[in-house]
Structure formats: C-alpha cells, structure tokens
C-alpha cells in the first residue's frame, strides 16, 4: 500500500475527511515553497498537492496563473522541482501528489518524469489536460512505478464515462463540481452534493473521492465532506495567502482551520 492509500485508510478509521492542500512549486521561490509545504503539513494537511509551473495553464484561473509566473521568475527548473519533493520527503511522511500539465511530462518522457519524481518521494500525479483516452502509455508507466494516477470527473461527464474514468484512477478520483477554471469562490456550486451522490456509486469500492476547484474556507470543506466526499482540495485560497507573502505560521493556522472542516464529528454539530 502506498502512502496515499494508507493515509485515506487511517483517516477512515478516525472518521475524518482528508484535506488536500495545493501549492505551486517555486512560488515565491523553491526554498520558500518548501517551507510553505511544511507549514501546510504542520497545519494538518493530509495530502500535499505540488504544482509544476507551466507556461500555458488552461485549466487555471488568475490566482494559480500568477503563482506560475512567480515560480518562473524564481527561475525554478525541473531539477529544483524534484529537489523540493526530495527535501519534503526527507522531512515528512505526508503523501505528495504532483499536479502538472501534460507537455512538460511528454517532453521529458513519461517514464523519465515518473521515475524522477517517484524516486524523490511523490505518490501520485494528476494531469488536468490528459484525458483517459490519451493515457494508455501513461497508465502503464504508473503501474510500473506504483504511482497513483488521478483523473478528473466533472458535471459534464456522464455516468458511463465517469465509471470508465474512475476505473482507471488510483489514489483518489478528482471531482470538479464547478464549470471553468481553478480559483477561490465564495459560493460552492449548488449541485455539488447531488454530483457527489451521482458519482459515488460509479466508483470502485475503496477509491476515495476528492472534491476540488473553488473551495476557499472551512465551511465549504465541511459541506463537501458532509455531502460524502472523502477529501476536500483547497488550492487558490492557499495560493492567495502565499501571494500576500504571509508567514509560514499564518499559513499553518489557516490550514488548521480548513482541516477542522474535515472532522465528521465536528461537521455533524454544525
């Protein structure tokens, strides 16, 4: 069992959802992004999702686009990206998932890319612009390196397709209830709960369901966990804090508050 599966198993016994915390590698520079990742971990994040910056992030809204620009300004390279993972893994057992657009992976070679990040200590990869249809070789490589392959399901995905996608996914299934790009929103899409209920029965038993894109506060985390998700993914709201240049401690406190939203006993009281 890899770290990701173990983590979800443990949380299940504690009756907690998982908090997946996203940040962009190299934002504002490689060293500080490592510090922020550690702060997230210390604040209670159950999974760290580390973004690899890409020049043309079509699935991202302004917040994460800007994080990518800052990362490029810090002169992040593939080497320093892998180094962040290595350093993180030396300090923490918390599962880490890489979020990358497909072209950097393709350019390096799917296998070379996976080998490097897995040896550094990554546990899974999510690729927002690689649908299952284009993933034949990628799936084989992920099997070979025992890496979780995380695919996406949206409100537009019909049942048959969602089932097919879920069957190819390991680690967790990434459910995006909102139309459009990443970015913190004040309101959760109204169909979120019904979407969770629609997708859940289509998934293989034991595969965790994570909901992301647009979650920005504890209440929203609570809502998706209460609605039956196994994990809530928070990205832009955290990246916003990093953009403001908050201290790692401040970020830690914010993560702690978000994490509170994943405790089912707590959410039942709301």
């Amino acid at each position: 069992m890899n770290r990701l599966a173990e983590q979800f198993e443990q949380l299940r016994t504690k009756n907690e959802g998982a908090l997946v915390a996203y940040l962009m590698a190299g934002d504002p520079d490689p060293l500080r992004s490592l510090e922020y990742a550690m702060a997230m971990e210390a604040g209670g994040a159950d999974v760290i999702e580390l973004g690899l910056p890409f020049s043309d992030p079509i699935a991202d809204g302004p917040t994460i686009q800007a994080a990518g620009v800052r990362a490029f300004q810090s002169k992040i390279t593939m080497k320093s990206f892998v180094q962040i993972i290595t350093e993180f893994r030396a300090l923490s057992k918390t599962p880490l998932v890489v979020m990358s657009y497909y072209n950097p992976i393709w350019k390096m070679g799917e296998e070379t890319f996976l080998k490097q990040i897995v040896e550094a200590g990554a546990d899974g990869v999510a690729i927002p612009d690689l649908p299952v249809e284009e993933s034949t070789n990628w799936l084989n490589q992920c099997r070979k390196y025992h890496t979780s392959r995380i695919f996406f399901v949206t409100p537009e995905t019909d049942d048959g397709r969602a089932k097919k996608i879920a069957e190819q996914s390991t680690g967790f299934l990434y459910l995006v209830p909102r139309y459009g790009t990443t970015g913190a929103r004040d309101e959760l899409a109204s169909h979120t709960a019904s979407l969770i209920q629609r997708v859940r029965p289509l998934m293989p038993a034991g595969l965790p369901l994570a909901v992301g894109f647009g979650l920005s506060n504890k209440e929203q985390v609570q809502t998706v966990i209460t609605a039956g998700a196994d994990a809530a993914i928070v990205g832009s709201a955290l990246v916003d804090k990093i953009a403001q240049g908050v201290s790692p401690e401040t970020l830690m406190l914010f993560v702690r508050e978000l994490k509170d939203g994943t405790r089912r006993s707590a959410s039942a009281a709301v």
């Binding site: 072209n103 950097p104 537009e156 459009g180």
Partner: protein
C-alpha cells in the same frame, strides 16, 4: 523544382496512417492531433463532432452555407494570373488565389460562416473566438452580427496594439473584445483564455476556433470548411490550363489557409506543397513534438516543455504551434515548409503592391516571397498558385512604422 513528393502509399501503410485524405482516424493524424484538454471539455467535443457529422450530409445546411458563401462572402474568389510578378520572377507561371477579396478581407470567413451556422444549429446562444491578426475576430464579429448571435473575442494586448483598426472593426460590428495580457499577449494566450471561457460556459457557448488547431474535431472541421479554397483552385486551373498546378504556396500560422489550399490535392502526388512560416515562429521548421491547446503537434518549446514566445511582424503567424495535419505532412515529406523572415516578408509585401497593385496581408506576403523565390528554380511551363490569404489594409500602420524605422519612407 525541389524534391518531388516522396510519399508512396506503402510508406503511409508502414506508418499506419492509411490514406492521407481519409484522416483523421480516431481524432488523429498519425501520431498527431488528439484531445488533450480538461475533462470538462471532452463531452462538448463529442457533441460538436456529432453535430458536425450530422450537417455534413444535411441538404438544407449545405445549401444555406453555399448561398451565404456566395452572396454574403463573395465566393468563388478569382484565380488571377500575376503577369508582372511572373515576369519579375522570370520563370514559372504565377497565379494568385484571391482570398483577400473574400468579405472581411481574409480567408477566415470561409471557416467562420460554416462554424457559425453549426453553432446556430446546435442552439448555442453565444460565440467566443480568439484572434491574432484580428481577421478571425473580424470575420466572427461580422457573421455574428449577420446571424444575430452575440460574439466575444479574446485578443492578446500586443496584437491589440498592432492591429488597432481590426479592434475597432470588431467593436463596430458589435463584438466585445477582451484583452489578454498573460504570457506574450499574442495568439497563444488568446487561445488559452478562450479555452478557459469555454470551460466555464460550455453549456451555452460555442467556441469558434480560427485555424486548423486545437483538439479534435476542430482541425478537421476548419480544414473541411477551408477546403473550398483548394477545390476552387482545382476547378479553375483545370478549366483554364487543362492541368493541375505543380506547386501550391501558402503562409502557415495555425495553418488553415494552407491546409484549405493543399488538402483537396493531397492524393495528387504531382502537386507539391510549400508552406511559408514566419522565421520567428517556425514551429514546423524549428519546433519539436509537443502538446499545446489540445493537440499533439510541432511546437516551439524549451527543453523542459515550456512553450516559447514567438516573434513575427505578422500577428497572424505569431503562434508557437501549428495544426496537427501539417505536422504529419511535414513528417511524411508530403509538404515542404520553409521559414521567411520579417525582412523577406516585407519584400513580398512591397513586391506585390508595386508589381500587381495588390497590397497583401503581411501574413500572405510570406507566401508571396516564398513563391517568387521558388518560381525562379522552376520551368516556364510550370504552374504555381500562391494563396493570398488576406488583404493588407490592416497592416498599413505596422508597415509604415517598419519603413520609418529603417528610413525607407
């Protein structure tokens, strides 16, 4: 004349691509093409493909398209024998396919009218588009006004600056123009933003893409609507000279006017294809295989897969990728692609203006230059058709500034 077309059907079979004219197969052109987009767009692409397949054989749709192309768009466009240009080059006979005379001033209308009718058929309430030179945006705004569908256009702020008149034209035609400041603030960034808008509004919105790029089925749809250029060339040369052209020349940005010109001749191995890319944006000449805007294709990128910024005097060619079908033509040797730099393009721009009284778009000027150079290496009895993708009115300010900077005016 340079290398003859070398692709035998044998070679094609070995590559497993089958007959070139029958592509795409499963959304692919050999290794190229595909649908590398966020999951939210996959169902929309499937709906689009189904809708497109249904109108292909729909009598009423095709009749409406034909009537609008002719009565609104001004088709067919003439094939003009460029006598003085031919004399200047001093060898092969040069003809110009006059897409600059299409309504709106460029070939872009051919595709826009087809897709806009498709959008209407699909019941979409809003059309979005990206634009580089502004010609695609103008064509979309124009057709949107004519069909009564609201249009919003994404355009890089660099392009807004150098194509001011087209921005005003779009606004005058009732479209909203959204500046895009990300990245190099050119066509690539405008497409990114259009894709984001589409993902957000996919239920109500039709994304009307302007070239043979993007995820399947777009490269196929745009090619099919642009093939009218090549189909007309075929009829016109056969009627006039009782033979097919020896060489077809077109500029290549995303590659739609070029593919529209080439595609109907793809099985005619005696017809050579020459594509002219901007030297500062030569994805076929200097790029490598990558994935951008939903397709696997030749892309200008750095060693870790970040997309490069491009530079061309012509906004319409200033793009880091190219249509996947061109990537296959290049790989198979079915098409030849060369680079033309700003200075050479400008020479083509002046040459055509002064020898023929036709001011070409700076994009098309790349093709003019390439065609004249190649004509010199050919025989007098050979026949060249250069597709003049657009007229130069939109570029006068750029051209004037270029000349002022060099003290030539």
């Amino acid at each position: 004349m340079a290398t003859r077309v070398a692709t035998s059907s044998n070679q094609l079979n070995k590559l497993g691509v089958g007959k070139l004219s029958e592509l795409p197969k499963d959304g692919k052109y050999g290794d190229f093409g595909g649908q590398y987009v966020p999951e939210i767009l996959i169902p929309a692409l499937k709906q689009l493909e189904a809708a497109y397949e249904s109108i292909k054989t729909d009598f009423e749709f095709q009749r409406e398209l034909k009537v609008l192309r002719e009565e609104y768009g001004g088709r067919p466009t003439p094939l003009y024998f460029a006598k003085r240009l031919t004399e200047y080059a001093g060898s092969a006979q040069i003809y110009l396919k006059r897409e600059d005379l299409v309504h709106g001033g460029a070939h872009k209308f051919n595709n826009v009218i087809g897709q806009a009718l498709l959008a209407k058929r699909m019941g979409k309430q809003r059309i979005i588009a990206e634009t580089g030179a502004g010609q695609h945006g103008v064509a979309t705004a124009m057709v949107g006004a004519m069909l009564g569908i609201p249009v919003e256009v994404y355009m890089g702020s660099t392009d807004i600056e150098r194509q001011k008149m087209n921005v005003y034209r779009m606004k005058l035609l009732g479209a909203q123009v959204h500046p895009v400041i990300a990245g190099s603030a050119t066509l690539k960034d405008a497409i990114n933003e259009a894709l984001r808008d589409w993902a957000t509004n996919v239920q109500t919105t039709y994304y009307l893409i302007g070239s043979v790029v993007g995820p399947h089925p777009y490269p196929m749809i745009v090619r099919d609507f642009q093939r009218v250029i090549g189909d007309e060339i075929m009829g016109q040369t056969l009627r006039r000279d009782r033979k097919l052209p020896d060489l077809l020349v077109a500029c290549v940005g995303g590659g739609s006017n070029a593919l529209g010109t080439f595609y109907p001749f793809v099985n005619e191995s005696s017809v050579h294809f020459l594509g002219a890319e901007a030297a500062g944006a030569a994805s076929l000449g200097k790029g490598s295989v990558g994935v951008l805007h939903g397709a696997k294709t030749q892309v200008l990128q750095d060693e870790w897969g970040q997309i490069s910024e491009t530079h061309s005097i012509s906004a319409g060619l200033d793009y880091a990728a190219v249509g996947p079908e061109h990537s296959l033509y290049k790989k198979l040797g079915r098409g030849e692609y060369i680079s033309v730099n700003d200075e050479e393009a400008f020479e083509g721009f002046r040459m055509l203006s002064q020898l023929e009284g036709i001011i070409p778009a700076l994009e098309s000027a790349h093709a003019v230059y390439a065609g004249v150079q190649r004509a010199r290496k050919m025989r007098k009895d050979q026949l060249i058709v250069i597709t003049l993708s657009g007229r130069g009115d939109k570029d006068l300010e750029t051209a004037l500034r270029y000349e002022q900077a060099r003290g030539t005016v």
